[in-house]
């Protein structure tokens, strides 16, 4: 029997949203848990997961449609081989989509004697029940059986399940690089609280797993003296009008954003992305700045940071960070970027290495500036020093180039006049 797929509410307050794109085509088979579409709200892009299995019979709301009301039918799910109704049926009791980004659906049921259908026994964690043929095909295709839902007797994984797993396309935001399936969930039997993963958490998990498992990372660290930059900052901040539209208060981070942008102009081969066919060198310098938010992190972008003044960067960054923490970024404000910065200086971190934000080729991890004993000439001296670590994609950036970049960055920071001219 066909069921309507409804526009889900991604948050309790959401009333409408944009159906950004469909990840399944009409006629395509859908398994429970498949990501079928992406919904954009003013906060973020979220994935819509199918609750029921079947075939996507008809798409009622085209991709790119704005202002789709919550609980409006967006597609019709039919059983395999079932005729597809032209329009959404009047759902008897539409199970409103839960706040979770899932689709609820209910339809008129035919005259069946039916107690509720007894669901297949879900495969238990631990031992995987699979037919020998399913095991062999999974091994040949690199499918992790721990991630495959069995449809055979007692939830046993059979050939069709593995073939379906092979056929599922890579998720939306993922690059074209084939993604290794995550390992089977460990069995946790000590007392614990299970916090359900938010979609943001799932996206972070997926993207970072993808990044760390598909990008050959390597790391180049360097100590950078900050005294000149701090002096410049004090000087500039002192020149700011007390208030009014021209007022600014530069943070160290603002200066470092600009320093990164200037460095990328000097060593432009790091402002890049790897693709199978070519290395992409970006024309613009768009800096993604990692910002921690209550349920994860997000990377708002300072576009054309090399061409913006420090006060512009500062005001823009403040505004973006505030909106990021309030969950009010538009997708185009955090999607894209050509290079990332992660600054944990405010936490007193000595040094750390960051995971690249794909498809970018590098990310700079900035640790705390602290007074250290340094040797100047042949004498001990005190200087404010921070350790920065550049994580790079070795497919795009080789060691010498990475070293050249961090050396250039040190030079820019230690002789910071280029930040203002």
């Amino acid at each position: 029997m066909s069921v309507n797929i409804l526009m889900p509410a991604l948050s309790p307050t959401m009333t409408e949203g944009k159906l950004a794109r469909w990840l399944k085509k009409e006629g395509e088979a859908i398994a429970s848990g498949d990501v079928i579409a992406e919904i954009e709200t003013d906060k973020a892009t979220m994935e819509v997961e199918a609750v029921d299995e079947g075939t996507l019979g008809r798409i009622l709301v085209e991709a790119g449609t704005e202002g789709v009301k919550v609980n409006a039918p967006i597609a019709i799910l039919v059983a395999e081989g079932e005729a597809v109704p032209d329009a959404a049926q009047a759902a008897a009791a539409p199970k409103a989509a839960a706040p979770a980004p899932t689709v609820g659906a209910a339809g008129a049921t035919p005259t069946v004697i039916a107690p509720a259908p007894v669901a297949e026994v879900a495969p238990k964690a631990g031992r995987v029940f699979a037919s020998p043929l399913a095991r062999r095909i999974a091994a040949q295709k690199g499918i992790d059986l721990g991630q495959v839902k069995g449809s055979g007797p007692n939830g046993r994984i059979v050939r069709r399940d593995v073939e379906a797993a092979v056929a599922v396309p890579a998720p939306a935001a993922a690059s074209t690089t084939p993604k290794a399936a995550p390992p089977p969930a460990p069995v946790i039997d000590v007392p614990h609280t299970a916090v359900p993963n938010s979609t943001v958490r799932k996206v972070i998990a997926r993207r970072l797993t993808e990044a760390k498992s598909t990008i050959p990372h390597f790391y180049v660290a360097m100590d950078v003296e900050l005294d000149a930059l701090l002096a410049l900052r004090a000087q500039l901040n002192a020149s700011s009008p007390a208030e009014g539209p021209g007022a600014f208060k530069l943070s160290v981070n603002d200066l470092l954003i600009k320093a990164v942008a200037v460095t990328l102009r000097r060593v432009p081969k790091v402002n890049a992305s790897y693709t199978e066919d070519a290395t992409i060198l970006y024309d613009d310098v768009d800096i993604s700045v990692a910002v921690s938010v209550p349920d994860g992190l997000i990377t708002p972008i300072i576009r054309n940071a090399d061409r913006k003044s420090l006060s512009q960067i500062s005001n823009e960054a403040k505004e973006l960070i505030a909106r990021a923490r309030a969950g009010k970024l538009k997708p185009q404000e955090f999607q894209g970027g050509s290079f990332s910065i992660s600054n944990m200086g405010m936490y007193g971190v000595k040094e750390f290495s960051a995971i690249i934000n794909p498809p970018q080729a590098a990310i700079l991890a900035i640790a705390a500036g602290e007074k250290r004993a340094v040797v100047k000439g042949d004498a001990l001296a005190i200087a404010t020093v921070m350790t920065v670590t550049l994580s790079v994609d070795h497919r795009v950036v080789d060691g010498a180039l990475a070293a050249e970049w961090v050396a250039a960055f040190r030079s820019v920071v230690e002789s910071p006049l280029s930040l203002v001219v």
Binding site: E80, G81, T111, V112, I113, P115, A116, V118, L133, R136
Partner: protein, 469 residues
């Protein structure tokens, strides 16, 4: 007055219907069966079972004429055809009453009459039951399963007349052995009758319009069967075109074009075995969403017809026309109705058996079909001549053939000809249903000495090489 309200009413008490009813009763549904003729249907009364009784007799006759091979001698070997037929009918009768007992034991109500859809009462289905045109009862049920089966297809000019031209029904109860018999159609039914009558001593000619006999079987197996039948003295005409028929007082003349020649035949009896048609008439399907396509009811993978509360199974619902397919569909359909999670049947996992001599059994794809489907195949063959038990039994003619997918090791198909193969094919069916690969089959220990060792060897032959050839 009988109870007339049920959870489920099954129309037809054949191997699909009565099995569905028993399963429904097991699941707690109030169930009734409506049967117009005999419980057990064609299979039990006029098909599978009585023909096996006849074929057993013909095997004994064959054996009695080959006693010398085993060191025996007997004079004046003969049979009484009436008694052979009588035994066959007794076997059918015994099993038919057995079905009655099974249904009674499971508290399934049986209505003797013809069932037809008779509209709805709210969401409940109504079914009228008539006997000899007179109403017997009107039943009301939440769900109906149609399991009315099929009957022999009748070709124009070859209408069974009960005397010279027989359908399976007359062919099963001969009063005397025809001296010359023509069998039209070389599917399982035609070939079994040809084998029975030939082994009882009749001169048998088989004509087939297609270019080979047993067209659904693997070509290699079909060719071996052809050769064995010709050796037994059968005449086989393939790629044949049948000319007009002239009926005499006690014989039939006709011409058959085959192989560029015209054969003028005169035979005593003709058996028409040219397929079947579904029993879709008078079921009250008009005005419902039930779709009939070439005499069969269209259903989805769970046997649902599209009309709320109406399901169809078995021969009525389409090929393959096999009792075990009907029974399995009956069980699956009832479980789906009862809300259980069911697995639709994979047609490639339904075995087919033909009980001629030598027997033929198969499951899955033929070699040709596997290649058409784009598989790179590995084929294994093992002849019975390399099998100790077969030789000891005096049955050294036979072959087991396996077809594997070269990439995945899936057993795509298995094809067997020879003694006892119908009893052995289930081994390969289990392998297919459980999705075993060549690895598990190779590692399975087969008992010695059995003919089944040939099944093991045919797997080895597709990979490392058979041991005994």
């Amino acid at each position: 007055m009988n109870k007339t309200e049920f959870d489920l009413v099954v129309v037809g008490g054949g191997p699909g219907g009565y099995v569905a009813a028993i399963r429904a009763a097991q699941l707690g549904l109030q169930t009734a069966v409506v049967e117009a003729n005999h419980l057990g249907g064609i299979c039990l009364n006029w098909g599978c079972i009585p023909t096996k009784a006849l074929l057993r007799a013909s095997e004994i006759n064959h054996l009695l004429h080959h006693l010398g091979e085993f060191g025996f001698a007997a004079d004046n070997v003969r049979f009484d055809l009436q008694k052979v037929v009588k035994r066959s009918r007794q076997v059918a009768g015994q099993l038919s009453s057995g079905v009655g007992h099974l249904l009674k034991k499971n508290k399934v109500t049986v209505f003797d009459g013809f069932g037809a859809l008779a509209g709805k009462d709210g969401s409940r289905r109504l079914l009228s039951v008539t006997k000899d045109g007179k109403p017997v009862a009107t039943l009301s049920a939440k769900n109906l399963i149609l399991a009315t089966g099929a009957r022999a297809r009748v070709l124009p000019g070859l209408e069974p007349d009960g005397k010279l031209i027989w359908s399976y029904r007359e062919a099963m109860v001969p009063t005397e052995l025809p001296k010359r018999l023509l069998v039209i159609g070389s599917g399982a039914i035609g070939i079994e009758f040809a084998s029975f009558y030939r082994n009882m001593g009749a001169e048998v000619t088989v004509v087939e319009v297609l270019d080979r006999i047993l067209p659904v079987e693997d070509e290699e197996i079909g060719a071996l069967a052809h050769k064995a039948f010709v050796k037994q003295g059968m005449t086989i005409l393939t790629g044949a075109k049948i000319g007009p028929i002239t009926k005499g007082a006690d014989n039939v003349s006709l011409s058959v074009e085959a192989g560029g020649k015209t054969h003028a035949l005169t035979v005593d009896r003709v058996i028409s075995a040219v397929g079947i048609v579904g029993n879709v008439e008078k079921l009250g399907l008009e005005g419902t969403a039930v779709t009939v396509d070439r005499t069969h009811v269209k259903v989805d993978a769970k046997c649902f017809t599209g009309e709320p509360g109406v399901y169809a199974i078995g021969d009525l619902a389409g090929p393959p026309w096999l009792a075990h397919k009907a029974s399995h569909e009956g069980v699956m359909c009832v479980e789906a109705i009862a809300g259980r999670h069911v697995h639709p049947i994979d047609p490639l996992n339904i075995p087919g058996c033909t009980y001629c001599r030598p027997q033929i059994a198969s499951v899955g794809m033929t070699e040709a079909r596997a290649k058409e489907a784009g598989h790179k195949v590995r084929v294994g063959r093992f002849p019975f001549i390399g099998n100790g038990k077969a030789i000891a039994m005096g049955e050294p003619e036979g072959l087991v053939k396996t077809v594997f997918d070269a990439e995945t090791g899936e057993l795509l198909g298995a094809h067997m000809i020879g003694a006892e193969v119908t009893e052995m094919i289930q081994g390969y069916v289990i392998a297919r249903t459980s999705e075993l690969t060549e690895a598990e089959l190779k590692e399975t220990v087969f008992p010695h000495p059995t003919i089944s060792e040939a099944m093991h060897e045919a797997v080895l032959a597709a990979y490392d090489g058979a041991l005994h050839i």
